[in-house]
């Protein structure tokens, strides 16, 4: 198993755990009906730190890959981004049409939609990488 394959598995596990933690956070916020400037600031600070760490890790992570692995990683990222956008589109409009154009939906719907989209896109990204290498190994044999 090469570096990119290992990272694909590790990223899948990390995203699953992170999604579960974020989901638990949303659950707590719903339970305590969190609202106001304090939860917003807490979320902005937490999400900014997580986003910065993720961005730096992605940039540093490219350094250990050779040119072909980098192309595969970029291809996987492009596909996962498209899947994320498609999921948000379909999810949003499904809720829109199911609940009715003039109805109200619970506030937690949006964070749940976002977290689910992130989780699905990470699965797609890891799957593209792992399937690509599995096909190559099958061709070798």
């Amino acid at each position: 198993m090469n570096l990119l394959q290992k990272r694909a598995w590790i990223d899948l596990v990390k995203t699953t755990v992170a999604t579960m933690i974020a989901g638990a956070g949303v659950g707590l916020a719903v339970n305590f009906n969190a609202k106001g400037i304090v939860p917003i600031m807490a979320f902005v600070i937490g999400a900014s730190i997580a986003g910065l760490v993720s961005c730096l890790r992605s940039i540093r992570g490219q350094a250990g890959l050779d040119e072909r692995e980098r192309k595969i990683a970029v291809k996987a990222f492009i596909i996962s981004t498209h899947i994320f956008v498609l999921f948000l589109c379909f999810g949003s409009f499904t809720i829109f049409f199911l609940s009715g154009a003039r109805s109200y939906i619970p506030g937690y719907t949006l964070p749940v939609l976002l977290l689910t989209g992130i989780f699905i896109s990470q699965i797609a990204q890891s799957a593209v990488i792992l399937i690509q290498f599995a096909r190559e190994q099958a061709d070798e044999q």
Partner: protein
């Protein structure tokens, strides 16, 4: 519509250069063994930089290691 292909002599050159393994060539070129496998099989076209590095490993010019051929356009 015409299609372009890049052929290479890497496998033959490896054997001609002291039975060099794919891993040894990969280490010298700074890539993974899987990349060398993909290049030999014609499934991956290396960048110009990598093509030069591989050619220099064998002490040859790029065009001696990689050949570019264009298929004849199909009749319309």
């Amino acid at each position: 519509m015409s299609s372009n292909r890049i052929r290479n002599q890497i496998r033959r050159l490896r054997f001609d250069n002291g039975q060099m393994t794919q891993q040894q060539l990969a280490d010298k070129a700074g890539v993974t063994r899987q990349t060398i496998i993909a290049i030999e099989a014609g499934k991956y076209a290396p960048s110009l930089t990598l093509a030069f590095r591989i050619s220099r490993t064998f002490g040859l010019k790029v065009e001696d290691v990689f050949q570019y051929e264009m298929d004849q356009p199909s009749s319309e």
